[in-house]
């Protein structure tokens, strides 16, 4: 469960403060499939980074499960990122010198989990890439790379997967495949939050949060529509 209250984030761009998000409160329940939409500069990526514990809010509170994120020390935050959250990026962010399997294995290594190779291979298998495990990222197509990134995000079985424009660099067909994987993960009970600017992609989720100028403009849930 995610619960944020009166969350704000202000950056300093040189000397000028930029209010990326201002006073946002939102609650996301376990098992939800959420799309965050909005024009660029609306604060959607900032919100996702805050949710992913990559960044800390300037004010307000953020509860992830039982953790009060603002009060956690850097090492504990690293552990939360490692165990509770899976992150998928627009540009995949794979380590170029490591094979697909090694990329997927990395969170397990940092989490000090045994049998990491076997578990990583299973994760790759679940995204349909087990036969490409020895390849390096530059030997894989965009869709394959993103599937490796998803395998890496889910390998530690996190409760929440955050994806920042996961289909942004992919063609429509591949993007659809990636979304299928997210849907399947969601069916298995993982909370999924996707930042996107594509209406089609957002349409595949159950709830759309629209942001504008650092605020939540609309919060439309389709849950009620489903009988």
């Amino acid at each position: 469960m995610i619960e944020i209250k009166n969350l704000s984030k202000t950056y300093l761009l040189g000397e000028i403060p930029v209010h990326a998000i201002t006073d946002i409160s939102v609650r996301i329940n376990p098992g939800e499939f959420v799309a965050i939409m909005g024009p660029s500069g609306s604060g959607k990526s900032t919100l996702l980074n805050l949710l992913g514990c990559l960044d800390l809010p300037s004010s307000g509170t953020y509860f992830l499960e039982d953790f009060n994120i603002k009060s956690l020390k850097p090492n504990k935050l690293a552990e939360v990122r490692n165990k509770r959250i899976g992150f998928v990026f627009q540009n995949f962010n794979l380590l170029p010198r490591a094979s697909a399997l090694e990329n997927v294995e990395l969170p397990l290594i940092y989490g000090r989990i045994k049998n990491s190779r076997k578990i990583a291979l299973e994760a790759l298998k679940s995204v349909g890439l087990s036969e490409r495990s020895k390849h390096r990222p530059n030997e894989l197509s965009g869709g394959e790379r993103q599937r490796v990134a998803i395998a890496r995000a889910i390998v530690n079985k996190p409760a929440i997967v955050l994806a920042d424009e996961p289909t942004g660099n992919l063609d429509t067909k591949t993007g659809k495949d990636i979304m299928d994987i997210f849907s399947r993960l969601n069916d298995e009970g993982t909370t999924i939050i996707i930042v996107t600017h594509e209406r089609d992609i957002a349409g595949l989720t159950n709830r759309t949060i629209k942001m504008l100028d650092g605020n939540i403009d609309q919060d439309i849930s389709r849950m009620e529509l489903i009988p």
Binding site: L54, A78, L106
Partner: protein
């Protein structure tokens, strides 16, 4: 487990930049190699000097006339030491194995048409043993010959070569300052030190030298051999006491002679050589330091280059410490490789020097451990700042870095 993975990651990134890694390690290679080869050359020179000095005997106490402070006063002008002093020492001092009184002058030797200038040393029958000379041919003179002031001579190998070439000298007569002396023996060569040649001298009975050759009443020095090194100090005290009584010196007055032992001389030579070794090692150590700075430089570049990678690692759960360890392992690995190759190169250099230069070099285990430990230490020291810089990056800033 984790450390092994970090090690693998570090190794992979070093291999990915082979050229850069090699050039960085080269700084360490040169540093370590120069430390090892310089120390080996210095140490070789020290051992060589010491072993040469040791040829003259180390458990020898030397008594010279004149006060110790007046070191520069020639023992010629101070005539306080007598042959009877040497005899008294031999008779009264316990724990000694030999005494040899000496007078020496430079003189001209002549054999047939050949002549040479050399040192004529008048001394006792025990001198041979005390000075570590050995007879090559013939014999040394006896106590009886000393007592009866015989005109016999034992010649050093350099003199032998100068006057006789390869032919036999035993039984021949040479002229020393115009007087005939019978050659009864020759000594084995000891080998020259850089500053003087111990084989370029002849030995005659001290009494003969005093009375027939130089016309002296006094002697110039007395060498006393101790049975054991540990007893040197006690013997020195005894001699000091005995001679003060014999010379009628009152308490509180300075002695008119001084007693020193050769091991002190040896030590001070050894110390000087050690300083030389440290100096060489220190200069070489500077290049090690420069190598370390090279590592730091490359690590800083590498971290800037890999900021995004650091961000990714942090995003998937790497802790500060793990990022830091990864980069520290990299820098230590570079210095480790550099250290290893440096040792190899250092050993090769020192062996080449000893082969080509004919110099003794000694690669000591200590110098290897020192250089290697130092290089790994430098890897940690100079890797620490860049590694910490990497670890302190903010995840989101690192991730956004382009």
């Amino acid at each position: 487990m984790l450390i092994l993975d970090l090690f693998k990651m570090a190794l992979r990134s070093l291999i990915a930049n082979t050229m850069r890694t090699f050039l960085t390690a080269l700084g360490m290679i040169i540093g370590v190699a120069s430390v090892i080869s310089m120390i080996s050359i210095g140490e070789g020179a020290r051992q060589q000097t010491l072993s040469t000095i040791e040829k003259f005997g180390t458990n020898i106490i030397t008594i010279k006339p004149g006060r110790k402070k007046n070191r520069h006063v020639s023992s010629d002008t101070v005539k306080t030491l007598m042959l009877s002093d040497a005899e008294a020492i031999e008779k009264n001092i316990p724990l000694i194995t030999g005494v040899a009184a000496q007078v020496y002058r430079s003189a001209q030797l002549k054999y047939g048409s050949k002549n040479t200038n050399t040192t004529v040393r008048g001394t006792g029958e025990q001198y041979l043993k005390l000075s570590n000379f050995t007879i090559e041919r013939g014999r040394y003179f006896s106590k009886e010959e000393v007592r009866s002031i015989r005109k016999v001579a034992v010649i050093g190998s350099t003199v032998l070569k100068n006057l006789f070439g390869d032919s036999n000298a035993i039984g021949k007569k040479i002229k020393v300052s115009g007087n005939n002396y019978l050659i009864i023996g020759s000594t084995k060569p000891k080998g020259a030190l850089s500053w003087f040649d111990p084989d370029d001298q002849i030995f005659i009975p001290v009494t003969t030298a005093q009375k027939r050759l130089f016309g002296l009443h006094h002697i110039q020095s007395i060498d006393v051999q101790a049975k054991k090194m540990e007893e040197l100090e006690a013997i020195k005290k005894d001699i000091d006491l005995l001679l003060r009584v014999r010379h009628g010196i009152h308490e509180g007055e300075d002695s008119d002679f001084h007693v020193q032992n050769s091991s002190q001389w040896l030590n001070s030579w050894g110390d000087a050589a050690k300083t030389f070794t440290y100096l060489l090692g220190g200069i070489a150590g500077i290049s090690l330091l420069v190598g370390g700075i090279g590592i730091m430089n490359i690590m800083l570049v590498s971290i800037t280059e890999r900021t995004k990678e650091i961000g990714i690692r942090m995003a998937i759960g790497a802790k500060k410490r793990e990022i830091m360890e990864q980069f520290l392992i990299e820098s230590v690995l570079i210095s480790f490789i550099g250290g290893g190759l440096g040792i190899l190169l250092g050993v090769i250099i020192s062996q080449t020097v000893s082969k080509i230069g004919g110099w003794d070099t000694i690669v000591s285990t200590q110098s290897i451990i020192l250089a290697f430990g130092f290089s790994v230490g430098i890897g940690i020291f100079f890797g620490f700042y860049p590694a910490r810089k990497a670890a302190n990056l903010n995840p989101i800033d690192a991730l956004r870095y382009e």
